[in-house]
Every structure is written in C-alpha cells, then in structure tokens.
Point group: C2
C-alpha cells in the first residue's frame, strides 16, 4: 500500500549557498500514505506537484480530513515530536522533504514556509467556519468553489480526485449526505455532473451565495 515510486536526493554539491543540503524529492503514486499520525516527526515536507490530504483519527475510527494540499503547501507538522496528521496522496505527487534542522540553517526555506503557513492557517480559519456553521448544502458548494476558483482552465469541468467518503470526511458529513447535496445542487441547476467525479459549475453566482461569498 505504501509504494514510493522514486526518490531523488537533492544535489548539494552543485548548489550555491543558502540552499538546504539535506533535502530530497519523492515521486509518489496516488493513494499512498506518506506519513502516519503519531510517528516520530523527523522531516518537514512540501508538495511540489499533485494533491495531498491530511487526516486525523479518533480512537473509535471516526476520521476527519483536516486539510487539502496543493503545490507549495507544507505538511509533516509536529506536536511533541510526533506527526499530528497522516498524509495521503490523492493524485500522483512530487514531494520535497527537509530535515527539521534545515529551518534554522536556511533562511530562504524558513521564509517560504512562513508564507505558506500563513496561507494555510487562513484556509484553516475558513474551514473552521465551514465545519462549525454551514449546512450540508453550503459545505458542498463551498468545497466545489474552493476546488474551482474563478479563472479556471479546462472549460470549467472539474475532475474530483476524492471519493464521496473522502469529501464527507473533509466536510464533516457522511457520504450519503454529500451524495444528496450533489443531487440537490444538480436538481437546482447549479452544477452538472458528467460522471460522479466530473463536475461543471453552471451557476457560480448562486453557488457563491450558498457558500457565503468566498
């Protein structure tokens, strides 16, 4: 289940100053668990390409997808030297890993991570609003708008790389409720579903109103 396709070590000898020496790039297939919640947190990671989700579990098995990551986003954060979340690829992905000690040595890296932490923290704030205060329909509308921002390539058809269960775990719902919400959005003409995982937003205005602007 845990197959790493390729691992390339960075070329420290060729690099000038200010570039961290101990980093490496990984090519990972889709649906691979890169990190396990609770494991000792040795390295910090960045998504270079592809999509990654971070998940947390309760002792009884309830799961929450706490964050969806794309290129530039950082993960592998630690609480008491243990990874706070598991990380699983949603698509084939390229990931860079850094030793945690590199943060002190490499100001450029630290600065880049700082910027991304700020952005990710803002996204988490929005997500708290979604999880705490929005209805099921609003959550799904918000989710789709978030995946397909204003100016989007591909003629407006979005390929979902998540199952209904994964979307549900992200939005704090059940898969049935997510499915019903998709059907309701379709029924109202706000979206069209080519297939279960191919969505087109038909009425962005109404979607934004549902999602509480955005």
């Amino acid at each position: 289940m845990r197959q790493i396709i390729e691992e390339r070590t960075g070329s420290p000898t060729r690099q000038p100053a200010f570039v961290e020496p101990h980093c490496s790039n990984l090519r990972v297939a889709a649906h691979v668990t890169v990190l396990h919640e609770g494991d000792p947190a040795r390295r910090i990671m960045e998504v270079v390409e592809g999509a990654v989700m971070l998940t947390k579990l309760l002792p009884d098995g309830r799961r929450q997808v706490v964050e969806l990551l794309g290129p530039g986003d950082v993960f592998g954060l630690a609480h008491d030297d243990a990874y706070a979340c598991s990380a699983e690829t949603l698509t084939p992905a390229t990931i860079t890993t850094h030793e945690r000690s590199a943060l002190e040595r490499d100001p450029m890296l630290a600065s880049r991570l700082l910027r991304h932490f700020e952005a990710q923290l803002c996204v988490m704030h929005s997500h708290a609003l979604v999880l705490g205060r929005m209805s099921a329909l609003e959550r799904v509308a918000f989710f789709l708008l978030r995946l397909m921002p204003e100016g989007m390539v591909g003629g407006g058809t979005l390929h979902l790389s998540m199952t209904r269960q994964e979307i549900a775990d992200f939005l704090g719902l059940t898969l049935e409720t997510v499915s019903r919400a998709f059907s309701e959005l379709k029924r109202r003409g706000l979206v069209a579903l080519q297939r279960a995982d191919e969505v087109r937003i038909q009425d962005r205005g109404s979607m934004r109103r549902l999602a509480g602007a955005l």
Copy 2:
C-alpha cells in the same frame, strides 16, 4: 467599545541589531475588538499576555470563533492584504504589533513566528476534528481539557473568560446545547460548577475518554 488603554512604542534606538525597529506594545482591556475582518492588513501581531479570540462571520451573521490565542500566539493574518479574521480580547491583554515588512528584515522574528504558526496550525487541525466529527458533549469536554491541561495551577478550578455564546461559537454549537452539555457533565460527576464561569474537572480520565484522548 473599542478602547485602547495604552500604547507604548518599542525603543528602537536602544536595541542592538536583529531586533525589529517598528514594533509597539499595546495594553488592551477585555472585550475590545483589536482587528476587524476585511480591514487592510498592515500589521502582524503577537499576544504577549492575556487571551484573544479570532472570529469570522458569514454574510447572514452566523459567527465562528476560529481560534483561541494565548501568550506567544500570532494573529493578524492576511488573505489578499485584508485581515482574514476579527480579533477580540477575552481578558485584559498585552499585544505586540510588527510591520509586515519586519518579517523579511528580522530573522529572529520570522523564526519565532514560524514556530508559533506550526503550533497554531496543529491546533487548528485538532479543532477541525472536533468541529467535523465530535458530538456536543465531546466538544465541551475537549474544550475544558484544552483550557486546563494536565499540570495546572489554582487547585484545578478554572475561570472561563468566555460566555456560553462564545463557547458555542467556538465549538460550532448553540449556547443552549453548550449549557446542556455542561449540565450533563455535572450530572455525570465529571465536572463541578462553582458558578457558571468556574469549573473544576472532577474526573479527568472520563473527560479524556470523552474528548478522544487529547
């Protein structure tokens, strides 16, 4: 409503190198809104002392308290140069503010903020799990444990500086549900309430089981 008690500007001339010049300390009373969501984001702030809550609003007025901050925590984050959240003091507080440009000039500041961003992001991940997957009773238990970690001063009696409404907005519930949860915890003997805002945790083991470890 928006009363700033005192503002002391840092003493840049006395400082040696590596200390940001354009920072200032604010003394703020309780229940003061320090930042408004949507305002132009000029400065980044740190809590020195006291407690601050960050809130977000939906267009129809639904509110979510997205984060609770204590000493060392950072706020004033921006999305498109506008503050992503409002910030309101829960207690009298001391706050340091920095110009955003100081982040590039002052590596010590950047490094400190980086560490705190990481911690706050981890807390947000936990909070997503709470908001997405926990029942009302579990949320309140989690909340109380979070406010009163293992080794705590004061003989185990905690003073809540939040109203039921604020707790509800933090936990994604209504104030009535929060009140019922408190009553249920009391009924089960897990907590004792001296007054509505004075809590003693009687059975930490059961609380932790409810909150999903922690």
